[in-house]
Symmetry: C2
Subunit: 413 residues, 2 copies
């Protein structure tokens, strides 16, 4: 009967994702930002579902929704499992929400079956991950992990309101737990990419979350009349930038799992009849290993300098962001992979190119992530979709994982 009950739980999960997807600050699409009215309604709604699954519910100082089930008695450790409840603008209803509602469904199932756990579980609905309101991501998980800095509290939104004002606090809160009291943090999230779909699998585990470096490349040539400047006398900034776009693409293609993206480009003066004198190009480089990312950056910088020098162009390379890679816990991930294999036969191991709350929580506890296939790899879009069958598969994996962790834990004791 476990199978049938879980199928029902998966259907309920689907209805809840739909209901939560209607809780929005916008009339037309789904948008929920840090401490907005919709976020307060979302916390109230998800809090009710947490209570229904037997969790004790509270909100912390930064608005994270925390549902806790005590188990294992005095001195028992805590398993964290969750994701974020905020969204990008005009979002889909799975990014974040799936990782909060799915563990509630899993704990509901365990409770229904009277499963006794030897550890406490906290389901976390982080209040901020997408960085929409304050152009700074992870405010929720940073608050939970005690990683908010004074500078974060001073951030202001488009209306000039600061994080400090929004939260009504004077100092950043400390971590929610001592590290040694935690078993780990598990996050279920849509893949936001096409790998699982291309392999025909519903779920996979994440071995590492890629480090990420962003740079802004300014190419300086000489603007000139498109009709009167012979080809041989040109210093075309766009041609130089184009050469780099292709060089970065070719380099990343031959250095998998490296990804390099030039997503934004602007040419000045930007008229059809003027040779571009200046081009600004963005570069985003990610690799699951820091050594791989750093080696790639050094090579890309050398390539850019070579192009600029050969073409007589000026080049200004400014790094605007640099985040190290986060390795997932080998133990937790092995256990999670065992559950994936038990449920769907094979278990692919992916690296996450996108950042997640797990990046921040890795400062507090070992982390593991379960990726769930999303249609067409699409995310951050109203058409974002996870099939009912895949949701059920993911739910079965998480239930099996919690029971598996429970068995391991008991063996250890």
């Amino acid at each position: 009967m476990k199978g049938d009950a879980l199928a029902g739980a998966a259907r309920l999960l689907g209805r809840r994702l739909e209901e939560l997807g209607r809780v929005s600050d916008d009339r037309d699409g789904l948008t929920r930002t840090f401490h907005s009215p919709a976020m307060r309604r979302a916390n109230a709604l998800v809090g009710r579902w947490m209570r229904g699954a037997g969790l004790a519910v509270r909100e912390d100082a930064v608005g994270n929704l925390i549902g806790r089930i005590e188990a294992g008695g005095r001195g028992a450790k805590t398993l964290l499992i969750g994701s974020h409840l905020d969204t990008v603008r005009d979002a889909g209803r799975f990014d974040g929400a799936l990782g909060v509602l799915l563990p509630i469904a899993a704990l509901g199932d365990l409770r229904r079956r009277g499963v006794d756990l030897p550890f406490a579980v906290e389901v976390l609905g982080f209040s901020e991950e997408e960085g929409v309101r304050f152009s700074s991501a992870y405010l929720g998980s940073k608050g939970y992990a005690g990683r908010l800095r004074a500078a974060d509290l001073k951030l202001r939104d488009a209306k000039g309101i600061s994080v400090r004002q929004v939260l009504g606090i004077r100092a950043a809160p400390g971590p929610a737990h001592r590290a040694r009291s935690l078993l780990g943090y598990v996050e279920v999230h849509i893949e936001q990419g096409p790998v699982l779909e291309s392999r025909g699998l519903a779920t996979g585990v994440v071995s590492a979350i890629a480090g990420q470096t962003r740079a802004r490349l300014l190419w300086r040539g000489r603007a000139g009349h498109a009709g009167t400047t012979p080809m041989a006398m040109r210093r075309d900034a766009l041609a130089g930038a184009a050469e780099f776009v292709l060089a970065a693409e070719a380099f990343a293609r031959s250095h998998s799992p490296l990804v390099a993206t030039t997503g934004a480009i602007a040419a000045l003066p930007g008229a059809a009849n003027v040779i571009p004198g200046e081009v600004v190009l963005s570069l985003d480089v990610r690799h699951p290993r820091d050594t791989g990312r750093r080696a790639a950056l050094a090579r890309l910088l050398a390539l850019a300098r070579g192009i600029a020098s050969r073409r007589g162009l000026g080049l200004d390379w400014r790094q605007t962001q640099d985040d190290g890679a986060v390795a997932c816990s080998t133990d937790l991930t092995a256990l999670l992979a065992r559950s994936v294999r038990a449920v769907q036969g094979r278990c692919p191991e992916l690296t996450s190119g996108a950042g997640h709350d797990a990046v921040v929580i890795s400062n507090l506890a070992p982390v593991a992530m379960l990726f769930v296939r999303c249609r067409g790899g699409l995310s951050h879009h109203p058409a974002e979709h996870v099939s009912p069958r895949d949701r059920e598969t993911a739910l079965r994996v998480v239930v099996d994982f919690i029971e598996g962790l429970s068995a391991t834990h008991e063996r250890r004791i």
Copy 2:
């Protein structure tokens, strides 16, 4: 004493260019647009200088300033010589103005020396060439040549005022002359390019004005997350466009005197962390021969299609402009080149990549053009500059040319 008098005339020309350069609609920079208050002041000022050189002055129905010197008696033909008095926004003071003020200085010199010409001369200051006010170029020379169309009269400026309203006319005027009454049209203009400077020469003749085709290329790929989409699964519209930028550059480099320019580019969505799903690219292709331009366009289109097909991208190629090349008159140009050689020793022959009033007047009369070196090839910019020495060289060339044409003309009679 001819030499000394011309040196003085060249200095006066310099002062007049400076004075005319202060006649502007803007307080900060030089801007004169079709029938603006500054254009009326410019016509009045230049008209005074024309009268001073012995010309009879009038304005035609479209505001062209015409200074005419009768000579050669009844049935004598007319030599046209001029350029435009309007400017781009924030212009330099030589583009157009040099070609109007220089022939006034030349005719002043001929008059001072009592030279009798066997033909009439009209110095033309066209009222519109740059296309600023009505986003349509050559309104002045089109009016003079009888080439304005009903559609031109309906054009409206940013305030909704039509050309017809500005001119207060009901129908487009006919041509100012019957073609058989004209000896030709000669235009002195800054090169707007770096060729004369690179050869260390003050002036050169123009063999042809390049034809010009513009197109808008829309590259359609698939937007995707920069972190989660492996390189092998991307359809990056910017990478395709970059490949074309380089292909067009390489093709034009190996097919001189072809020039091909991709001056404007926009990537959508244009975020650092999103693979561009759509890129719009401008293409501007010019060649002094129509066959050369057409062959290049066919090849570039084939290259673009090959790139798009290889990368799985959509391509939409839309032609937005297509103007044929204009060949300068062999006879007039040979005579002009003889004068250039007489004054500066050598005479380079250039093609004009930019359009000029001569393009329109070629419908009415054989045309020739004298290009004058401008510093750094720079034009359409406040720093546009022609040295006093080069102005004097150009003036000597034009005086020699008019006397040469006069001699040829008398020999023919």
